[in-house]
């Protein structure tokens, strides 16, 4: 095989990495380079660019190599795939990261890899990149390392000392699908590895409470990804799995990735455009669970055959199914009830609560506190507004359902 030049390797290994949805660079410790080194992190990550798929480009997202000895059918890099293969040396990845970073293209690096030789060998290579960046180049930017669940715990320990975030992908919401589609992976060892990471993260937080000098361990925590639409799991099952992962392993995020057709896709998998709206609804449901005080059962109760409504956001779907709880008097209702009003976000709720201590809210005030009053009107009461019977009217669903959006224009200037 002819040696690929740098540019071709970059093309192959970026292609190979694009199915990982995460590009987050938020929530790590604050650092800067005023005392030396290169780079900084603030509380909030920065999206340096956006691709036409609407996804942010915050990190240089690469596979160290897309050679892989596993045969996960949903993955373009599986051993049985005909995709072109390439491999970067750790030094090449380091040079590219530093070069991109100095030009302000990126916040840092998200490095993953196909499994080569053994899980330990692969993990060692990933750790080596992070170590070179931190120790040889004084790199203070963000590093996210994919963690190989079967790797030696000592390597994972080392990874956490250099990386801001570690992640292990659960890949599929159903264990049985993982066994079927990814025979070399084991759902139980994935969960155990996540549990191990949670214990290590908590231990490090405890140590840092005792001494500010204790080394940090993955200060931006752990996350995971689930592929949506590659197996038959309905949304209800996905939401339950997510809740189990959030509560059990304190994940910062569960990413949902609509299964995307891959070159030379095996016949066992659906061949279709990715279910992007479904993915979007799952993210909304995920938000309801994490920030709006909804229980899994409440979210699941408003699904049909376990599937979220594609035409209504899940909070609206819940409200429509629970009209007896509305209208909510925005001048009296406690915070957790305000959070249930469709169209009202966490920040608006906080503003409302501060403001109503000073004066009773009118409809015009609510209009300024929110983006879309129209759909909210049937669900709220203010000093000068009550929806009357409209909350219970048969036409409510039609009124709050967005008109079907025309197929997305391909013209940039349309």
């Amino acid at each position: 095989m002819a040696q690929l030049d740098h540019m071709s390797k970059l093309a192959v290994l970026a292609d190979a990495a694009k199915y990982d949805a995460s590009c987050a660079s938020s929530g790590t410790s604050k650092r800067n380079s005023r005392q030396g080194g290169l780079g900084s992190t603030e509380g909030m990550g920065i999206c340096h660019s956006y691709a036409p798929d609407g996804r942010c480009i915050s990190l240089l997202k690469l596979l160290l190599t897309n050679h892989c000895i596993y045969d996960c059918l949903y993955c373009v890099n599986r051993v049985s795939s005909n995709v072109q293969r390439a491999r970067f040396t750790p030094e090449e990845v380091v040079d590219l990261t530093i070069g991109f970073y100095k030009r302000n293209y990126i916040e840092g690096l998200f490095l993953s890899s196909g499994i080569i030789r053994t899980p330990d060998y692969t993990m060692e290579q990933l750790v080596r990149v992070a170590k070179l960046l931190r120790e040889e180049h004084g790199f203070k930017g963000y590093i996210h390392l994919k963690t190989i669940p079967d790797a030696d715990p000592r390597l994972i320990e080392e990874a956490g000392l250099y990386a801001d975030r570690l992640s292990i992908n659960v890949e599929l919401p159903r264990e049985a699908s993982l066994t079927e589609l990814a025979p070399q992976k084991d759902a139980r060892s994935i969960r155990k590895a996540m549990g191990g990471l949670r214990m290590r993260l908590e231990e490090s937080q405890e140590e840092r409470k005792k001494s500010r000098r204790a080394p940090r361990f993955a200060p931006a925590g752990q996350s995971t990804q689930m592929i949506v639409g590659a197996d038959a799991a309905p949304d209800s099952e996905i939401i339950r799995t997510s809740a189990t992962l959030y509560s059990g392993y304190h994940l910062k995020r569960v990413y949902y990735s609509a299964f995307s057709p891959i070159p030379g896709s095996p016949t066992a998998l659906p061949s279709m455009t990715p279910p992007l709206m479904r993915e979007h609804r799952l993210y909304q449901a995920d938000w309801l669970y994490r920030f709006y005080g909804f229980s899994v059962d409440e979210i699941v109760a408003s699904t049909t055959d376990g599937m979220l409504d594609l035409s209504l956001d899940p909070k609206m779907a819940w409200a429509v199914a629970n009209r007896d709880r509305f209208p909510v008097d925005v001048n009296r209702a406690p915070r957790e009830t305000l959070l249930r009003i469709p169209g009202l976000g966490v920040k608006s709720v906080e503003k409302m609560i501060r403001m109503r201590r000073l004066a009773a809210l009118r409809l015009a005030d609510v209009a300024r506190l929110t983006k879309s009053l129209k759909n909210m009107r049937p669900f709220i009461a203010t000093l000068d507004w009550h929806p009357g019977a409209s909350t219970d009217s048969a036409g409510l669903v039609a009124r709050v359902t967005p008109r079907i959006v025309a197929p997305q224009q391909l013209s940039l200037f349309g």
């Binding site: 290169l38 691709a51 045969d71 995307s260 506190l369 997305q408």
Partner: protein, 479 residues
């Protein structure tokens, strides 16, 4: 009319000094014109002098949050920003909580300005693109950027934090900022032709941009919302966007239509090697064999919400078998029984009762953690009878291998599991019941019961009672 001449477009200090004097003199906002170099020229003639500072003026009250707000509002391009702030300053003297009235016209407008400025600052941190140039002092990095608001001074410290070890300049039409490794300096605005027009890594960046894009997920509106087109002319990667969109539909359709490919020849050989390399634990009998068998237990649905089976552990020749209810949060993660808070309390009580934990065997009636996810926590749920019955199979096997002299049931679930009957623990504690498969079963409370007690006295009393139960159990064996 009083005209205030500010030093630059975002001159917060100048505004503050002038606003204080004006406010102390009680000057009406309508009588003040705020001028900045490069700002719109007004047609008013300034005919009144600036009031002299007054020593006897009442102190102005402003909160930290107003200062934060004002420091951002001055960066907005709105010509009325300084007069809006002055009006707010005066109103705040009457209404100290005014800023919480977020729907008030002035507050609403100021908040919107803050939001726009914050966003523009953020976009500047995101979209500045440095190009490397050679200088006599070594490499330097230069960018051309066109901000919509006066955010250069506000954003400069971000670039110092990040690139303190590089020489860099950001040129903009209104104001340029430079870092020479030691200090920031500002110079008047520049033109684009003063900035370099290429960089050796830009082709790599474009290659990366093109290949990290997934053509099957075209979402142009989302891209344009976050990266508005007005920024594109200074983003090298924007030159690739149109081509990527044009190819996307056909690329995605081709991918969907393409037949499944024949796997490369090496595939089966590699997969066989992976299979052969899979670590196989040596065959084990006894408790170790049983533990491994239990790893894959699916006798009831509780496995699906848990991390792993938590099997019993301890001394196989133990005289005592302690049976709890089920693993908790920590046990589930660690894969070992009685390691969480209740386990620690249990160890202490055992020691106080003169029983050596390392010489005992501990296990649970149910071997998976039953819980309900709630936010970031898992709420413990007691196992029901069918779950206890399903898991009894494992206790029976453990009992056969251990043959303890005495079994201690900790709590109601253990009693149910061992005797097949429900008994009130508080009524039967300290008694010996009978199990079909284990014989004598001594009953006491579960240590987590002690953790749930509120009062200090009650907790001490119940702890002592627990220890005395354990002593009684010890005496039953040792006489």
């Amino acid at each position: 009319m009083i005209a205030v001449e500010l030093e630059h477009a975002a001159d917060f200090d100048g505004w503050r000094a002038a606003a204080r004097r004006l406010a102390e003199a009680g000057v009406d906002p309508a009588d003040v014109i705020w001028r900045t170099p490069g700002g719109e020229r007004d047609l008013f003639g300034a005919d009144a002098p600036m009031p002299e500072p007054r020593a006897d003026a009442p102190a102005l009250r402003v909160s930290r949050s107003f200062i934060d707000l004002a420091q951002r509002v001055v960066c907005h391009r709105d010509e009325e920003r300084f007069s809006l702030l002055y009006r707010l300053l005066l109103r705040l003297q009457q209404q100290p909580k005014l800023l919480e009235f977020v729907t008030d016209d002035d507050v609403f407008r100021a908040d919107a300005m803050v939001k726009a400025v914050r966003r523009e600052r953020h976009k500047m941190t995101a979209f500045v693109r440095f190009r490397e140039v050679a200088t006599p002092d070594g490499a330097a990095f230069v960018a051309w950027f066109e901000p919509e608001h006066h955010v250069v001074r506000l954003t400069a410290p971000f670039f110092v934090d990040r690139f303190a070890s590089m020489r860099w300049s950001i040129l903009t039409p209104e104001l340029c900022v430079h870092w020479d490794l030691e200090a920031l300096s500002f110079t008047p605005g520049a033109t684009r032709d003063l900035a370099p027009d290429s960089d050796r890594l830009e082709d790599y960046w474009l290659t990366y941009y093109a290949h990290i894009f997934n053509p099957a997920r075209l979402k142009i509106a989302a891209m344009k919302r976050e990266m508005p087109m007005r920024y594109w002319k200074n983003l090298p990667e924007s030159s690739a966007i149109l081509g990527l969109i044009r190819q996307a539909t056909s690329a995605s359709e081709e991918m969907i239509a393409a037949p499944a490919l024949v796997a490369p020849k090496r595939t089966s050989k590699i997969l066989k090697q992976v299979e052969a390399a899979r670590p196989v634990a040596p065959h084990a009998d006894g408790l170790e064999g049983l533990r491994r068998e239990a790893e894959g237990c699916r006798r009831c649905p509780l496995w699906s919400n848990a991390t792993q089976t938590v099997f019993g552990e301890g001394e196989p020749d133990s005289e005592f078998l302690f049976v709890g209810e089920q693993p908790g949060d920590m046990e589930d993660l660690a894969g070992r029984p009685f390691v969480g808070p209740a386990g620690q309390l249990f160890n202490r009580a055992l020691a106080d009762a003169g029983i050596d934990r390392s010489a005992a065997y501990v296990t649970n009636a149910v071997k998976h953690f039953k819980n309900e996810p709630r936010g970031k926590r898992r709420i413990h749920k007691s196992p029901n009878i069918s779950e206890i019955n399903a898991c009894r199979w494992w206790i029976e096997r453990e009992a056969e291998l251990l043959q303890p002299k005495l079994t201690v049931a900790l709590g109601a679930s253990a009693v149910r599991s061992l005797t097949g009957e429900s008994h009130s623990v508080l009524k039967t504690r300290g008694q010996v019941l009978t199990s079909d498969f284990l014989g004598d079963v001594f009953v006491t409370v579960h240590p987590s019961y002690l953790l749930r007690l509120q009062g200090e006295d009650e907790r001490r009393r119940e702890y002592d009672a627990f220890v005395s139960d354990l002593m009684k159990a010890r005496r039953l064996v040792h006489g």
